[in-house]
């Protein structure tokens, strides 16, 4: 790619690919060739810019002009207007802000304005399948620096001064972990990248692996040098086939350039990486289970100590970090610990990537400095709640995390503040819930998830969670008793304190936080046999509002059990005996005439 080219970056992240961005790129190329623009305009595969619900997306540089929700049919017109006539096509330009005005460029959009890109620094700017583009943006310069002008201790000291903490959930100081592993007896030593990303509703790691795989490889090589390891493994979850392909390509290219393999940069440092595909078990994200899985065993956690730094993979000293943690490393080494430590709060440095999803206007990946408030993320970057609904809660930390209510939205994003609220930072899922989300149902959702994913080794987790699930089902079906709340709290304490690994130890969090902040919803289910959010099937009825019904008949066709009747242009009624409460009539009604009681 020549520097003076106009660049068309067509996103090649999973979400955009699933919506046809590969075809769109091909049509772009074809049209550019057709109009003989090839020496002026380059069509490139871009990485995920995070606004996945607006895809497929193309960004034109220079100028940061972003086109969204493209279809192949749009492209011939777009190329003619934009590149031949010099007129950007207003219709296809972005409109992600709540103000609904036309916004000219990428950086002026609310979604991007509040963000600060460290890990996602190459977002949208490089083709992940081309190592040259990573190198052109100073890629592997940090590795060169680490190998030629820093000692292993010097590297660890930089990471320590930067204040980097693990992004996989618990926030353990990365430098401490590296030092323990460096000092541990035993050879060979290993480094592992944890790309299992089990938290449902979160996809930061997938995006990093897919769109900037070299950043992870470079980080791992730097870490391996610091620790004294020569071999690394990247464990990627089974559901991410595209990430596996991209990482494989990146490893091959890095080997070809001598950036992996023997005697890297002629410094005598040998390092190579292998990719391992997970088998689809949530608990394999836990470090000891993950290592068992690499060894070819069933991924069941074991008790610690010994910690992986002493006895890890094949009983050898092993350092395991999350994808995002590794991707931070090159930035710290290139730009220096002082710069990095200037971002964030006193104890939580740098930035964090969140996957902002659920009932939110601008859903996608956001990278924000630590210390920003949840309110700024949800209402600033995220543009608030759709359809004029009220915000109810935000769930952080996946199944180990908790639900934070509106009254606590001014909480800052740092490890300690979130833990204190009963939630955790976790790996970065932020799931926004509105007034139509039932918090008892959410608690049941997470507990059911964990019942399925419990490896079954220890009793409090295996049996305790099952009992907890049964109690929650009872409550959502209107069979709950007042004593159940206390029983739940007691059981939560037993599971939390008696379980072997982090899965069980944190499993009660979703139940405890919803009990703490949304107790009134539990009470409504138990005492009044009512689901205030209108979710729990046994406690609701769908009816048709005669004032609003126009008798159009759309609901009749949508009903899978023929429970709705009524003459054309007459008010319709639902037969409650037949109704299964599936809600499809409500989905299709254009007049908001179907209401839940």
């Amino acid at each position: 790619m020549k520097k003076d080219h106009i660049q068309v970056w067509v996103c090649s992240g999973s979400t955009c690919v699933s919506k046809g961005s590969l075809t769109i790129r091909a049509v772009f190329e074809q049209e550019i060739r057709k109009h003989k623009l090839s020496d002026r305009v380059a069509v490139l595969a871009g990485r995920c810019s995070g606004t996945c619900n607006r895809g497929p997306i193309a960004v034109i540089e220079p100028g940061h002009i972003i086109y969204q929700q493209l279809t192949p049919e749009d492209i011939p017109f777009l190329v003619k207007e934009h590149f031949l006539k010099g007129k950007p096509v207003q219709r296809l330009r972005t409109d992600v802000s709540e103000t609904k005005t036309m916004i000219p460029t990428l950086m002026e959009i609310d979604f991007f304005k509040h963000q600060q890109l460290v890990v996602l620094r190459n977002r949208g700017r490089i083709d992940p399948d081309k190592i040259d583009e990573y190198i052109a943006l100073d890629g592997y310069a940090a590795l060169a620096k680490a190998l030629t002008s820093l000692s292993p201790e010097g590297i660890i000291s930089e990471i320590e001064k930067a204040g980097l903490r693990g992004r996989g959930g618990a926030g353990f100081p990365t430098a401490t972990k590296w030092m323990l592993c460096r000092q541990a007896d035993g050879n060979p030593k290993y480094v592992i990248c944890n790309g299992d990303e089990g938290d449902p509703g979160a996809y930061m790691d997938r995006s990093i692996l897919e769109s900037d795989p070299h950043a992870v490889l470079e980080g791992m090589a730097i870490g391996a040098r610091a620790i004294g390891a020569q071999r690394g493994y990247i464990y990627v979850r089974d559901e991410y086939p595209l990430a596996v392909e991209r990482v494989k390509t990146a490893i091959q290219q890095a080997r070809h350039y001598g950036l992996l393999g023997e005697n890297i940069f002629q410094t005598g440092f040998d390092f190579d990486v292998e990719i391992i595909r997970g088998g689809g078990a949530f608990v394999c994200g836990e470090e000891t289970a993950l290592m068992a899985s690499i060894e070819g065993k069933a991924g069941r956690p074991r008790s610690r100590p010994p910690f992986p730094a002493e006895k890890g993979l094949w009983e050898k000293p092993t350092n395991i970090n999350n994808v995002e943690t590794w991707a931070n490393v090159p930035a710290i080494i290139s730009r220096g610990a002082k710069w990095y430590a200037s971002l964030g709060t006193e104890k939580s440095k740098g930035t964090k990537i969140f996957s902002l999803v659920g009932k939110i206007n601008n859903s996608g990946l956001v990278e924000v400095p630590m210390g920003i408030t949840l309110r700024e993320i949800i209402f600033g970057v995220g543009g608030g709640i759709p359809n004029g609904k009220r915000f109810k809660a935000v769930q952080t930390g996946g199944p180990s995390g908790g639900c934070i209510p509106e009254s606590m939205l001014d909480l800052t994003v740092d490890y300690e503040a979130l833990t204190q609220a009963g939630a955790i930072m976790g790996s970065g899922g932020l799931i926004v819930m509105d007034e139509d989300t039932c918090m008892v149902d959410v608690a049941l959702y997470f507990v059911s998830f964990l019942v399925e994913e419990s490896c079954g080794k220890c009793t409090p987790c295996r049996v305790g969670l099952q009992r907890m699930k049964e109690m929650l089902i009872k409550i959502t079906e209107g069979e709950g008793e007042e004593a159940d709340i206390e029983r739940l709290e007691k059981l939560a304490r037993v599971i939390g304190s008696g379980s072997l690994c982090g899965l069980g130890q944190t499993a009660p969090n979703p139940v405890l936080t919803t009990l703490k902040y949304f107790r009134n919803e539990y009470e409504a289910h138990i005492k009044q046999k009512r689901c205030p959010a209108g979710v729990c099937k046994k406690l609701i009825v769908y009816t048709i509002d005669p004032q609003k019904c126009t008798g159009c008949g759309v609901c009749v066709k949508s009903c899978p059990v023929d429970a709705i009747s009524g003459e054309k242009k007459q008010v319709h009624v639902i037969d409650q005996q037949l109704c299964t409460r599936c809600g499809s009539c409500q989905e299709v009604c254009s007049f908001d005439a179907v209401v839940i009681q």
Partner: protein, 148 residues
């Protein structure tokens, strides 16, 4: 069987290669057939129970054949709060199967997954390799028509 021996050898004929071996076998067959499992155990000289222990622990493995098309309904958190369960209920009802089962005519196998990493498009259903996002019950029934 020869092809199984080849796969086993590709991963160094070691027990530690068992997971990728099973992944490759499943990729070819669509599931893990009984003979395949006993062949792998024989090649590796390990008890059959060892292979079954892995094949049943990891969700990615299946011991029964699947329909012509696989439907994965996402029940991750983002999809859950946006109505993923309603879509699952509807599919179960319309196709007359429970999650995990295959329709009588062998056309579809319906399963749930916990997040496919397209949460911005919730609720999501993946059919074979195609992602379908921002669905509701009506749309998902429409989408099925594309798969014979």
């Amino acid at each position: 069987m020869k092809w199984i021996r080849k796969i086993v050898e590709k991963y160094g004929k070691k027990e530690s290669g068992l997971i990728p071996i099973l992944q490759d076998v499943q990729k070819i067959k669509g599931y893990l057939p009984e003979e395949g499992i006993s062949d792998i155990a024989a090649e590796l000289k390990i008890p059959i129970a060892r292979v079954y222990s892995l094949a049943t622990f990891y969700k990615a493995f299946r011991l029964i054949p699947r329909g012509r098309h696989s439907i994965h309904v996402c029940l991750g958190t983002a999809c859950h709060v946006r109505g993923g369960a309603k879509i699952m209920d509807r599919l179960e009802q319309d196709l007359g199967v429970r999650s995990g089962e295959t329709t009588q005519d062998g056309r579809f196998t319906v399963e749930s997954v916990r997040c496919v990493g397209c949460c911005g498009l919730a609720p999501v259903v993946v059919i074979d390799d195609d992602f379908h996002g921002k669905l509701n019950q009506k749309k998902v029934i429409q989408v099925l028509k594309k798969y014979e």
